[in-house]
């Protein structure tokens, strides 16, 4: 590990990234409200990290999504897809208005990411535990083909219960893939979880320190960060790019539902429909003006999916 401190973003850059994170959250709430249901807590906990990735870290060309030398990003916790779609739309991959097609029939914005429909997605995900393996293949492929690009993979902390994650952890270390950077959105809640004394009366999927010890035992370089401190996330990802022959895991401490006070830290906001008064309150907290008359989502329809 380098001894030199990383520079980190300056104040204008921090403000720009903060605004993108806010807008990702606004678009998440708007799209989920419009779809009448969907995952909320996980997308909100990932919003700051996605803002830093898509507006500060990833070397990508939205106008040329298949650019061979681009950095790749895989959202292994595919159920947070709406946050990824919001980041991609704001970055210019497709119009922001298209976010309201999320989860609708014929949409490119499927409930879980489908790379065959939406240019810019580097892998289809949704069945938990798979993204790190694909990311390892990309990192290994980059080495074999001599491309100077990195594979970033975002995992959920609950997802780290999947055995395949640890298969990938074992194999990536054997190849010393330091162009593979995984980020755990460690929001300490999963869909329902075990009863216990953690947030909202549930036991966290991984207890504090456990994730760091596990990844460290697998030979990975472990970095930890507050996943909502944008300057710190910038610095840790810059540090992660300082190759030392080991794959990198960034354990980002986050809060499920971050940014909307009444959604924070509650497992039941994992996926759920938003009531009209909750929608208005959430938008107000996120600094968005109330929607104009006639643009509110229609009331839920009986028998609608989810």
């Amino acid at each position: 590990m380098s001894a030199l401190p990383v520079a980190g973003p300056d104040a204008p850059e921090l403000a720009r990234l903060g605004e993108f994170a806010r807008r990702i959250r606004v678009e998440v709430i708007r799209a989920v409200n419009h779809a009448r249901a969907g995952h909320i807590g996980g997308p909100l906990s990932a919003a700051d990290i996605l803002a830093v990735l898509y507006f500060h870290v990833l070397r990508v060309r939205p106008e040329e999504p298949t650019w061979p030398d681009r950095d790749r990003f895989i959202l292994s916790k595919g159920h947070s897809s709406i946050a990824l779609y919001a980041a991609m739309a704001l970055r210019g991959y497709f119009p922001v208005e298209e976010l309201l097609t999320f989860d609708a029939a014929h949409s490119r914005l499927q409930g879980h990411p489908d790379m065959t429909r939406l240019p810019g997605l580097d892998m289809s995900t949704g069945s938990l535990g798979m993204g790190l393996s694909a990311g390892m293949g990309i990192a290994l492929g980059a080495r074999l083909t001599g491309r100077d690009c990195r594979a970033y993979v975002m995992l959920g902390d609950g997802e780290c219960q999947e055995g395949e994650v640890w298969e990938a952890a074992m194999a990536a270390e054997r190849y010393g893939l330091d162009n593979l950077i995984a980020i755990v959105d460690h929001n300490r809640l999963q869909q329902y979880g075990w009863p216990g004394d953690g947030p909202d009366g549930r036991t966290p999927p991984q207890v504090p320190g456990e994730l760091a010890a596990k990844w460290s035992a697998f030979g990975w370089r472990v970095l930890e960060v507050d996943g909502h401190d944008i300057a710190a996330v910038c610095r840790v990802l810059e540090e992660a790019c300082r190759s030392d022959g080991r794959p990198v895991i960034v354990i980002a401490a986050t809060v499920k539902g971050k940014g909307v006070s009444f959604m924070e830290g509650h497992y039941f906001w994992h996926t759920r429909a938003i009531k009209p008064e909750e929608f208005e309150a959430a938008m107000a907290e996120l600094g968005e003006p109330p929607p104009e008359a006639g643009t509110e989502a229609a009331p839920p329809v009986a028998g609608a999916p989810r």
């Binding site: 892998m123 995900t125 290994l140 492929g141 083909t145 990938a168």
Partner: protein, 313 residues
């Protein structure tokens, strides 16, 4: 007359993929720690830098293959059917079939010849599983000659494919001039009394069975179906039309494999009675190859015996 023995398909696998990789630098081999069994070790000796040991972690291996394919590489998989299809089925489904990525699931130890391993390793529903998977194509070569041809085809084919390879030496059906044509069935023998459809390394044994039956005056029409998906519908319909009596034979479950696809196809296109010879909803036991062929009714003599019995009904 009994068909001669050919070479084990696993040797053909190691050699042929090594040859292909010499010509195409995009080809890599992913091994689930079975290279000395699948003969991926032949590839490793030729291309140590393209041989990628993935350890005993097959779910990850299939996922890595998908990632490599997005980088323009052509991964071939080295493991057994049980660990290439059945164990990592969700990875095959989500990361390979649903994405259409260019991964070659070239699985060894198909069917009964698994080196006396028993039912944990003997997979006889792989054709049923893979042929019902949108985006996947499925090929089961008959012998060493066809296996070499199929591997060459697979390297050139753009997209995911499942190639079913046999561990041990099997009988040779085709001459060196044989050319595999993807999606096409092959008439092995023309006859007028009953049409037999067969696939994979069962076909040479059925050809021998046809000889036994011919000696008794039963005139068999035999069609080899190497491509299970997409099925050569025209050849199935034409083959059925030739005799009006159809029997399928496969070293596989009679549920959902060749027998299933032929029955489905004929019920739509040319309603015909279809009898199916194969494993009858059982988990096979371990034993020497010849003993297993006898137990499960797949030796030439046992196939002939069953065809005789079916024709009497």
């Amino acid at each position: 007359m009994t068909l001669p023995m050919g070479r084990p398909m696993r040797e053909i696998f190691g050699e042929t993929v090594a040859e292909l990789a010499t010509a195409d630098p995009r080809i890599v081999m992913l091994d689930g720690d079975l290279g000395s069994s699948t003969k991926a070790d032949i590839f490793e000796k030729a291309h140590p830098d393209k041989y990628l040991q993935m350890g005993i972690a097959e779910q990850n291996m299939l996922g890595v293959a998908a990632g490599l394919a997005t980088m323009g590489l052509i991964p071939f998989i080295s493991t057994f059917v049980s660990f290439a299809i059945v164990r990592p089925l969700d990875q095959v489904r989500v990361l390979i079939a649903q994405t259409g990525l260019n991964v070659k699931i070239t699985a060894g130890y198909a069917g009964l010849f698994t080196g006396q391993t028993g039912m944990s390793h003997i997979i006889v529903d792989d054709l049923s599983i893979t042929r019902t998977m949108p985006g996947m194509v499925v090929v089961a070569p008959a012998d060493d000659t066809e296996a070499r041809e199929v591997l060459r085809w697979a390297a050139a084919y753009e997209g995911p494919c499942y190639v079913r390879l046999v561990r041990d030496a099997t009988q040779r059906l085709f001459g060196d001039d044989y050319r595999f044509e993807f999606g096409k069935a092959v008439v092995v023998r023309t006859g007028s009394e009953v049409t037999l459809f067969s696939t994979g390394s069962q076909t040479p044994r059925v050809a021998d069975a046809a000889d036994l039956l011919a000696a008794e005056g039963i005139d068999v029409h035999l069609v080899h179906v190497p491509t299970i998906k997409p099925l050569d519908v025209d050849a199935i319909v034409a083959g059925a039309g030739r005799t009006g009596r159809v029997i399928t034979v496969e070293e596989h479950s009679i549920l959902g494999g060749l027998g299933g696809t032929v029955a489905e196809t004929l019920s739509e296109h040319r309603p015909t009675r279809v009898d199916r010879i194969g494993l009858r909803d059982v988990y096979p036991e371990s034993g020497p190859n010849d003993a297993l062929l006898d137990i499960y009714g797949l030796s030439a003599a046992r196939v002939a015996e069953q065809v005789r019995a079916i024709l009497r009904t």
